[in-house]
């Protein structure tokens, strides 16, 4: 049977290039491996030339595959399952890229593409290490392309191709008809949670971070095979810095995304997927410090090897956790079950590179030089090493709790997350923050080998003194009042706050008094300063985060159901219901749900909330703004909401919708009750009465604008409710272009609808009213006050800049390059963090 309207060519081309890339990766891996084993210079060079050719073919092919996927997605060819699952017609073009990396296949492809880019740079810069390094990268490519291969070997499908056809994958009666495509009207499209600007930029950065961790381990491998212990460190250091910078930024960018657009009310939730990226970063930074130690003192070489290898192992382990579906119920955003064959593949990939390198490392362990003499207690390298060790141990702590589902799988246990997952992590890591803060503050002033005690005391006296006083003042005037977890934790939080203030100051003093603002050499100090600032910002913003939509304080709370436990009021009631047009008190604000506006995306609505802060004494409006959180309501009632946030320099007001009123499908059956009123007459309704104050002809005010050709009569009505409030309503009667129109008015708070239908004899007016309690529109929202959240983002930017400064300094690039790259990074981050807010 031939099917109508299918476009099979792009899929065939795409699949051809997948196969070509796969073969090329094998050829390139083998040739590079042979080259690295060959001693004869001529033969080696010819192998390398051959391997390079294969690598270029592979890179080109992968790029072509990417173009093919982009092409089929942008043309909505639903004959491809990948397009059907991830694209849809209503999706704005900017999300097209996001569709591509929403799925497993696309994200593996993205990862492989970054490997290609990194490989290109290494071909031209790695010199004598090229063969060994590229053989590792090609091995990784072999596995990544295997994941998207989609070939049957012994009836087992190896990898899942993005080019499989919907009709081959899904069963259904429509697929036996030649015109089945005409039944598939639209694709499923991008998950509404992911329809966000950040989905376009966060994954590529994060995957570049993941992909780049292969470079340090490849350098380590090259030294193990060439038995050139130690020589690799200097060459790999800039790459390690690059990797730490990109991965760190990528992770926190995920935090920024979560804060901007996901509704869990924060930037970090210790979700397994977040941890899975954070753990390799911690180990990588530990490795980075060991490498820096080795560079200056020849110590810590073995630890450098160990941490760099472990980093890569943990990057792949986290891939395993997030992509095999093993996390199941514990994570909000992991991929689901990918099938046994895929899981086995991912499992093999996890160990395929790191285990052999580990083997080489242990085999040569005794040959790797190490200094037997103990480091001096007053030396910088000693405390740097301790710092690295602390980071490594915290990484082990985090991953051991995150791996709970893995233990359950292996040992058949049924352990689950602790009651307060975030606190389980926080209570340990807050102590880590104390230690790391103190270490990053003090160790800048230490010197390699040993440090004069007097010099050290003289140098840290000022920052220490100021931070003691500063923390003291902060505790008096702006204390962190996070008492939920008891006094012990509060003390730890304050200690951590002190340590991070100290670290910021100490690093600042170091830049000023030791480096004399020679920032080029101050990459480490800048990065540490940024890191400490970020930690300090996290402590303050999370510690003093306040729920302002506290229902128990508004007085609106009406218990309606008998609570069988009888202790309802103990719990915080974080959701607040706002009726349309009814001003409600929320914290310092008076909030009114004014209107909703549809967006150009299907199912998405913005809810406009008017916030006012009125000074209670003078009655002056101090703050006045509108927030528009939005929500997608899908046809199956699935509600996905995005926050609306008002950004101030010192704090954010953060709101998101948790429930919306469901418009009643049943028609409004009540009818208007007619009344004939003279001016000054009043009419009773169930909850009060209303008075006709007067009739205006063609008024021109903020509410009505009529042209001189129109004839308009507007009734001025005041509604007096039994509860003492009064409202104004202006139903109107307009004759426009010889047509009579009624403009009804609604007092939502009272469910009262008013209509002005005409003039009666004797200066009387026909005013009709009806009441209907089914039409009450409302939203339920949560609102938070986040203080000093900008410190977190500022700290992140400073840290990234510090990494880049170090990086540029290490590669000894010409000055112009240095300025250009720092400028680019700054521009990029500026763009991401400021413009993306809108």
């Amino acid at each position: 049977m031939t099917f109508e309207n299918e476009h099979l060519l792009p899929g065939q081309v795409g699949h051809f290039f997948v196969l070509l890339a796969f073969v090329a990766s094998i050829v390139s891996a083998i040739s590079y491996f042979t080259a690295s084993k060959t001693q004869l210079e001529n033969e080696k060079q010819s192998w390398i030339r051959f391997a390079r050719g294969a690598f270029f073919i592979q890179a080109f092919s992968l790029f072509a595959v990417f173009c093919c996927i982009y092409y089929i997605c942008s043309n909505h060819y639903y004959e491809y399952l990948y397009v059907y699952k991830h694209a849809s017609r209503e999706l704005e073009p900017k999300y097209l890229l996001a569709c591509i990396w929403e799925g497993q296949e696309g994200s593996f492809l993205l990862w492989a593409l970054w490997h290609c880019a990194l490989g290109m740079v290494l071909i031209f810069t790695a010199k004598k290490r090229e063969a060994a390094i590229l053989s590792i990268i090609n091995t990784a490519q072999f596995f990544l392309i295997l994941m998207i291969l989609g070939l049957y070997i012994f009836n087992v499908r190896i990898g899942s191709s993005p080019f499989v056809l919907t009709r081959n994958e899904l069963a259904g009666p429509i697929f036996s008809q030649p015109n089945y495509l005409s039944f598939i009207k639209d694709g499923i499209g991008l998950n509404p949670l992911l329809r966000n600007y950040w989905m376009v930029i966060h994954p590529p950065i994060l995957f570049l971070g993941f992909a780049s961790t292969i470079v340090p381990i490849a350098f380590a491998y090259s030294s193990l095979v060439s038995k050139d212990w130690g020589g690799w460190v200097k060459a790999a250091l800039p790459w390690t810095l690059f990797s730490a910078c990109v991965l760190g930024t990528g992770i926190m960018m995920g935090g920024k995304w979560a804060y901007e657009s996901l509704s869990f009310g924060g930037y970090w939730a210790w979700d397994p997927v977040e941890n899975a990226a954070f753990v390799p970063w911690l180990i990588l930074v530990a490795g980075l410090h060991c490498m820096a130690i080795f560079n200056s003192t020849k110590n810590a070489l073995r630890a450098s090897y160990l941490f760099i290898i472990l980093t890569y192992l943990f990057v792949l382990y986290s891939t395993f956790l997030t992509r095999t579906g093993i996390l199941g119920d514990t994570s909000v955003h992991s991929f689901t079950e990918a099938g046994t064959a895929m899981n086995v593949l991912i499992g093999i990939y996890v160990v395929a590179i790191s285990l052999p390198v580990f083997y080489l490392f242990f085999k040569n362990y005794s040959k790797i030089p190490s200094i037997q003499k103990e480091e001096d207690m007053s030396s910088r390298e000693f405390w740097m090493f301790i710092g690295g060790l602390i980071l490594f141990l915290s990484a082990l702590f985090v991953i051991s709790i995150t791996s709970l589902p893995v233990y359950n799988k292996i040992f058949g246990t049924n352990l689950a997350d602790p009651q307060d997952r975030e606190f389980a992590y926080n209570k340990v890591l807050v102590l880590v923050a104390v230690i790391v803060g103190l270490l990053t503050g003090v160790s800048q002033f230490l010197r390699y080998k040993n440090t004069d005690k007097k010099y050290l005391i003289k140098k840290i006296a000022w920052p220490l003194g100021i931070s003691v006083v500063g923390t003291g003042l902060l505790m008096i005037f702006y204390p962190v009042d996070y008492t939920q977890k008891g006094p012990g934790f509060l003390v730890a939080v304050n200690l951590a706050l002190f340590a991070s203030i100290f670290s910021v100051l100490a690093n600042g003093f170091y830049l000023k008094s030791v480096l004399k603002w020679n920032l080029k050499a101050g990459g480490a100090a800048i990065a540490h300063l940024g890191f400490a600032l970020m930690i300090g910002g996290m402590l303050i913003s999370s510690g003093n985060k306040k729920v302002i939509s506290d229902n128990s304080k508004t007085g609106l709370f009406i218990p309606f159901a008998k609570d069988p436990t009888g202790r309802g009021t103990e719990n915080p009631m974080e959701n607040l219901t706002l009726l349309k047009d009814v001003p409600t008190r929320m914290g310092k604000y008076t909030v009114t749900y004014v209107s909703d506006s549809a967006s150009n995306e299907k199912d998405r609505t913005f809810y406009n909330l008017h916030f006012q802060k009125i000074d209670s004494v003078s009655g002056k409006v101090e703050e006045n703004f509108v927030l528009s959180p939005d929500a997608y309501r899908m046809k199956d009632n699935n509600l996905t909401s995005n926050p609306g946030t008002k950004h101030y320099l010192t704090h954010d007001i953060f709101t998101y919708i948790s429930t919306i009123s469901v418009p009643d499908a049943s028609k409004d059956t009540t009818t208007f009750k007619p009344h004939t009123l003279a001016i000054g007459d009043s009419v009773f309704y169930s909850k009060g009465y209303y008075v006709l104050n007067g009739i205006e002809k063609n008024p021109d005010n903020e509410r009505f604008h009529f042209s001189p050709a129109d004839t308009a009569l507007v009734a001025d009505i005041t509604v007096f409710s039994n509860n003492g409030t009064s409202y104004k309503a202006y139903p109107a009667l307009v004759i426009q272009n010889q047509e009579l129109n009624f403009i009804n008015d609604t007092v939502n708070a009272e469910n009262l609808y008013l209509n002005f239908s005409g003039i009666s004899n004797g200066n009387k007016f026909k005013i009709n009213s009806k009441e209907n309690d089914k039409l009450t529109e409302f939203i339920t929202l949560k609102a938070y006050y986040f203080p000093y959240i900008n410190l977190v983002w500022l700290g992140l930017v400073i840290m990234s800049v510090g990494f880049v400064v170090s990086l540029v300094n290490r590669v000894k690039a010409p000055r112009i390059w240095a300025y250009m790259s720092i400028g680019l990074v700054l521009m990029f981050l500026f763009y991401l963090f400021l413009l993306a807010n809108n």
């Binding site: 899904l170 039944f183 702590f397 069988p564 607040l576 948790s658």
Partner: protein, 134 residues
């Protein structure tokens, strides 16, 4: 003191710390029956919404009170109180993971995770159902 011994001490201290943390507060996955025996203990229940019993929720009156009945695969049932808004897809969910404590005959729930068909586009059966709906 030798520096290496300090390093070892740090490692040991951290290891003890980690072990202590570990032994403390993990919870478990339970059935309704076993949770009823562990009164007041924090557990994870894997259950289903009992559609034959009413769901009580009125955001207009109290947005922070939801009550419904859950039934597990062994047929045991319990009332669940969740002091938060009603998850929009509760009625559509195929499975719920409820985190909280059993208090008498009521499960006091702190967090609800829903397994909903619409969220899982990698589920082939679900795709087959939806492919013709558009």
């Amino acid at each position: 003191m030798k520096t290496s011994s300090i390093v070892i001490l740090v490692v040991i201290a951290a290891a003890i710390g980690a072990l202590l943390m570990y032994s403390v507060d993990f919870s478990t996955y339970d059935t309704i029956g076993s949770a009823k025996e562990k009164q007041g203990q924090y557990v994870h229940l894997i259950a289903k919404l009992d559609k034959s019993k009413p769901i009580q929720y009125d955001a207009l009156k109290d947005p922070n009170y939801l009550s419904f009945y859950a039934v597990d695969s062994l047929g045991n049932s319990t009332q669940v109180i969740y002091r938060n808004t009603k998850p929009a897809e509760l009625e559509q969910s195929e499975r719920v993971v409820l985190k909280g404590k059993m208090e008498g005959n009521v499960f006091e729930c702190n967090d609800i995770l829903l397994k909903c068909p619409s969220k899982y586009k990698d589920d082939k059966k679900q795709l087959e159902k939806t492919v013709t709906q558009y």
